[in-house]
């Protein structure tokens, strides 16, 4: 603990300079601080607070898509009408991250850069084709989420790169999205198994589908076989079942205190089916409750 430092950055450049000198960024602190108190990982020797950097907490529209600043909180996402209306799968996810306190403090940038295979916002954003803008000492670059995550808690970004924004392209007309997870309680929960789907309907048929699985592999990833199984015809039971089965087949679950391998594998089918069905319903214009996870069981 000797010599621990904490500075507050007032610009992205400040933050990147501090990170290049070895500091770790902190905003909401919901992963960093909680992890340290749990004994998972001690707090870094040098921290740079990024929560006061102006301009990083906005939700903006761009050509029908969205630009989310790194400091946008989960509670801001859940309460945003455009997120709820056209990027509903992200609202499903942000609505159930941690507890009320986590959602008020935790940021989208932190959630994505934590690179947990169980993070809630990852699967819907991946299916929506989101990219992230990273600022480093050498300038800025934009990469897809599938390129960002390298393993559990591991990033392809280097330690001196700061996520500054998340860009979500405009969905095609007739698109609906959903994120569903298996959870044992309604607050303070982490995904046991999760799935997201983004489905575009046209003339009663599935024109495009993106399906991703959560907490079922070292990183959140899309399942092309599942997507292919859903596209090309009406979203009937056979097609949905085939897609859900393909999603589950791609799972490489671990057994841990939250669930066994067998149970996770069985639940992968259930969660994938529910995510797909909810996304299809939303694509058809039906109003489905947010978050979708709570309406999938219970009262």
């Amino acid at each position: 603990m000797m010599g621990a430092t904490y500075t507050t950055a007032s610009s992205v450049e400040d933050a990147v300079a501090a990170m290049a000198a070895g500091a770790r960024p902190v905003a909401g602190g919901t992963d960093l601080v909680v992890g340290a108190r749990q004994g998972k990982k001690p707090l870094p020797q040098a921290l740079v607070g990024i929560h006061k950097i102006p301009g990083l907490d906005g939700i903006g529209e761009s050509d029908g898509g969205l630009v989310l600043g790194a400091l946008v909180t989960h509670s801001a996402l859940v309460s945003h009408p455009i997120v709820r209306g056209r990027f509903t799968g992200l609202a499903d996810a942000s609505a159930i991250v941690g507890s009320h306190a986590t959602r008020a403090n935790g940021t989208i940038g932190g959630n994505l850069m934590n690179a947990s295979p169980a993070m809630d916002t990852g699967a819907p954003l991946l299916c929506m084709g989101a990219t992230v803008e990273l600022a480093g000492p050498g300038g800025r670059r934009t990469i897809g989420l599938d390129e960002l995550w390298a393993g559990p808690g591991q990033l392809s970004a280097s330690a001196d790169e700061l996520l500054v924004s998340v860009n979500i392209p405009a969905p095609s007309p007739g698109t609906g999205s959903a994120y569903v997870r298996l959870q044992y309680r309604r607050q303070m929960e982490i995904a046991v198994v999760g799935a997201a789907a983004v489905v575009t309907l046209g003339g009663g048929a599935v024109m495009d589908a993106r399906i991703a699985i959560t907490a079922l592999a070292p990183t959140i990833h899309r399942v092309p076989d599942a997507e292919a199984a859903l596209v090309g015809g009406p979203p009937d039971e056979a097609r949905v079942d085939a897609a859900a089965a393909a999603a589950a087949a791609a799972a490489r679950p671990i057994g841990d205190v939250r669930a066994s391998v067998e149970y996770r594998r069985a639940m992968a089918v259930v969660m994938a089916r529910r995510a797909i069905m909810t996304a299809v319903a939303r694509a058809s214009g039906q109003d489905m409750a947010i978050p979708a996870s709570d309406s999938t069981y219970g009262s």
Binding site: M1, R37, Q38, G39, S99, L182, Y184, R185, R186, Q187, M188, I190, V257, R258, A259, S260, Y263, A266, M267, V270, T296, Y297, G298, S299
Partner: protein, 755 residues
């Protein structure tokens, strides 16, 4: 019938919920050091050598203590089987080998890691059921040499065997219309208070003051005096606000470690546990159990015979919990008329975390098994489970498991009330069902004392040994004093949680605070009342028989104009003091000579009776169960303060739902906890709470607590998991035989073939 005319809200509530309240961890003293422990590196090992030299050499370390630095004293409430610091052996992952006091917590932690311990590693013995097999290795090789309660029937790894025997269970079983056998396994759960424990100790000369987050300050005082070989009067234990306990802060634990460190370092020393340490702390755990039951019944519902074998996990050390075997045996019978009984119950050592008095110890798990077993009996004789209970629950004059004849009690009324509240028999969607369970819990009559004094401004102060851990002392005691003195409960302050202030008290355990300390406060207030009447008779020149105490004044009956205020009397300078303890109610004597291991639980004083009914919904694809609606009907005698009693039920039911569905300590193969934290030890949250309806069946109970009250605190979690289990079984078609009934276990039960 409730004595509070309007709800009396707890006076300590506002400071607690607004964050203003000061807990032990919030306290700091000038020059204080920080303590850390070095814990065992193995669940079971012989200690060959301990070398503290490197730890002592760390700059900023002022004391390092091991067993060599404190008196060689064995302690423990019912079996004296442990030391402050491990000596020959470590017996679970949380055994303390050394304590360190240093300038900062980080230095203390660094030093703890530098202590070198050489072990001879032994096979862990986590299987508490197998540990009673012949030839099993012993957790305590020297068990026969330990001091212990004479009534404990001990043998090897079994530190307590108790039996309940009535009639001839074997031949009655042979003659029954049907015989139902079941086996249930309950995993350990945890008390999990939000406040991890904290202790701060400061010496002045040869006396020590210890601030501690304990539920039992007097037991802590005795423990410090005993283990550090000093007079009890030289130890003062003070409890600042307590952030929950649920039984996990009962018994004496770390006060002496910290006091010894403070003495050695000649500075105040503070210990604050991390969440992980709190989870691994001794007695934080509810015991795991294996429960085998067999019941012979006739087709009219008559329960002719019950046999049972129960095995309980005590973990590494006994502490105060030696009575668990007998308590579990009584719960294996339950509040039912059973003609013949033979139940054997074994409390076994293991190399797991010591288990202790978590809210109604042994009852929720045993009741969960027995109540599901009762539903199986009902199914076997083709009777509705509620009807079976209606025919077999005890009533006034019936005979208990060991021959006790019951006073008036309201268990049958609780059954009808719960069925009524939940709408038993109503049409439900096919993924919903209602389950019902009944249970009981004794009241505990123990000595208790209090003083009441009046202040010059006409208010009163209650000086008591009672504890407040959410248990209601701050509500019940002022209400009872106020009623005797014609004052309002808001007029009273309480001086408590300080062993130098109030008389001895058992602490906040056993649902006993209002039951026993309420009696003491009434007695003390009556003495004050006598004094006031004498003084007022002089003042008003009236006969004292013509006086009454109303609205903060003494007045001539029916003549409010002729009066003197209590403030005027108390402000005269004449001390107005009262003291009281009252006569302790005792459980009825029973013959019970056939029962082994009698520790006083074979007869229940003023039993508290409960029926819970739960409407649940099952997600058939995942096994996830949600409780949608809950009905709790309780006979706790006369209710002193409805809002406080309701609060116990809301909290108890939520704890019970957690134990039913999600709260489970998972151990690795060596007996180390795999989920010692609040992320993966799944407490229920407010968002998970169902609608909970409560009805109190206020049976006027002779031989009970103040005003005919019984205890309230522990029963609300007793039959909760049984009711939920019975509802799940209706949806799944089979009973889930593991507790908690997690989604994965429900799902497995749905997907495996039944017997």
């Amino acid at each position: 019938m409730t004595i509070a005319e309007k709800p009396f809200i707890r006076p300590d509530g506002k400071e607690k919920v607004t964050g203003v309240g000061r807990y032990t961890a919030d306290m700091n003293l000038t020059g204080q050091l920080y303590a850390k422990f070095r814990y065992s590196d193995h669940p079971h090992a012989r200690i060959v050598r301990i070398d503290t030299s490197r730890a002592k050499a760390v700059p900023g370390v002022l004391a390092v203590l091991t067993h060599e630095d404190v008196p060689d004293v064995l302690y423990g409430g019912m079996v004296q089987d442990r030391r402050l610091f491990a000596k020959e052996k470590v017996r679970w992952e949380g055994d303390v080998i050394a304590g360190i006091a240093a300038r900062t917590a980080a230095i203390a932690e660094e030093a703890a890691a530098l202590i070198e311990v050489e072990y001879e590693v032994l096979d862990p013995l986590p299987d508490f059921a197998a540990n009673m097999d012949a030839g099993a290795s012993l957790v305590h090789e020297d068990w026969e040499t330990y001091g212990a309660d004479d009534s404990l029937d001990r043998s090897g790894n079994t530190l307590g065997h108790s039996s309940i025997v009535k009639g001839d269970a074997d031949s009655a079983m042979a003659g029954a219309d049907v015989v139902v056998k079941s086996r249930f396994v309950a995993d350990a759960s945890q008390g999990a208070p939000i406040e991890p424990r904290a202790i701060l100790a400061q010496w002045h000369g040869d006396r020590v003051t210890v601030w501690s987050s304990t539920q039992v300050p007097f037991a802590a005082r005795s423990g410090v005096a005993h283990t550090l070989d000093m007079p009890e009067s030289h130890v003062r234990v003070v409890v600042p606000l307590l952030g929950g306990g649920f039984g996990s802060k009962c018994d004496f634990h770390f006060e002496a470690h910290v006091a010894a460190l403070a003495k050695a370092a000649k500075r105040p020393v503070k210990l604050v546990f991390s969440r992980h340490e709190e989870f691994v702390a001794p007695d934080h755990r509810r015991e795991g159990m294996v429960i085998e039951l067999e019941t012979g019944a006739n087709r009219d519902g008559t329960l002719v015979s019950r046999r049972g074998t129960l095995r309980l996990d005590k973990g590494a050390y006994c502490g105060e919990g030696g009575f668990f075997a007998q308590m579990a045996a009584m719960h294996a019978c339950g509040p039912y008329k059973i003609q013949n009984i033979s139940v054997d119950s074994y409390l076994n050592y293991s190399t797991n975390q010591p288990s202790s008095s978590i809210r109604a110890p042994t009852a929720p798990q045993t009741c969960w098994a027995v109540e599901q077993h009762m539903d199986q009996v009902a199914e076997a004789i083709g009777m509705d489970p509620a009807e079976l209970r209606r025919r077999t629950l005890i009533a006034e004059g019936d005979e208990g498991p060991a021959g006790q004849i019951f006073d008036p009690i309201g268990i049958k009324e609780t059954l009808e009330a719960a069925l009524d509240m939940i709408g038993y028999g109503k049409e439900l969607p096919d993924d919903e069902a209602i389950g019902v369970a009944c249970g009981w819990w004794p009241s505990f009559g123990v000595p208790s004392g209090a003083y009441v004094k009046l202040n010059g401004d006409g208010t009163g102060t209650i000086i008591t040994g009672a504890m407040e851990s959410g248990t209601g002392a701050v509500m019940g005691l002022p209400l009872l004093a106020a009623e005797v003195l014609g004052m309002s409960p808001e007029d009273f302050s309480i001086t408590y949680q300080d062993t130098d202030a109030g008389p001895w008290d058992m602490g906040s355990s056993g649902s006993q605070t209002t039951f026993n300390n309420g009696r003491a406060v009434i007695e003390a207030a009556k003495e004050v009342r006598e004094k006031l009447l004498d003084m007022a008779a002089d003042e008003l020149e009236a006969h004292r028989d013509d006086l009454e105490l109303v609205g903060g004044a003494v007045q001539v009956k029916g003549s409010p104009g002729t009066s003197v205020t209590i403030a005027d009397l108390a402000g005269s300078g004449e001390p107005i003091l009262g003291k009281g303890s009252g006569d302790v109610p005792e459980a009825p004597e029973v013959e019970a000579s056939a029962c082994v291991g009698r520790l006083g639980m074979e007869s229940f004083l003023a039993p508290q009776l409960i029926t819970h009914a739960a409407r649940v919904k099952l997600d058939r694809s995942t096994g996830v169960v949600r409780v949608l609606e809950f009905a709790a009907a309780h006979d706790s005698g006369v209710i002193i303060n409805r809002i406080g009693a309701d609060g116990q039920v809301y909290g108890g039911v939520m704890m019970g739902i957690g134990q039913a569905l999600s709260e489970m300590t998972m151990f690795d193969q060596d007996g180390r906890q795999r989920n010692p934290g609040l992320l993966d030890y799944k407490l229920q949250t407010v968002s998970d709470a169902p609608k909970i309806d409560i009805r109190w069946i206020e049976v006027d109970t002779p031989n009970a607590g103040p005003k005919g009250s019984k205890g309230v605190g522990e029963p609300p979690s007793v039959p909760t998991s049984g009711a939920i289990g019975n509802a799940i079984a209706k949806l799944v078609g089979r009973h889930v035989d593991r507790l908690p009934m997690t989604p994965e276990r429900v799902w497995e039960t749905m997907h495996t073939e039944g017997e």
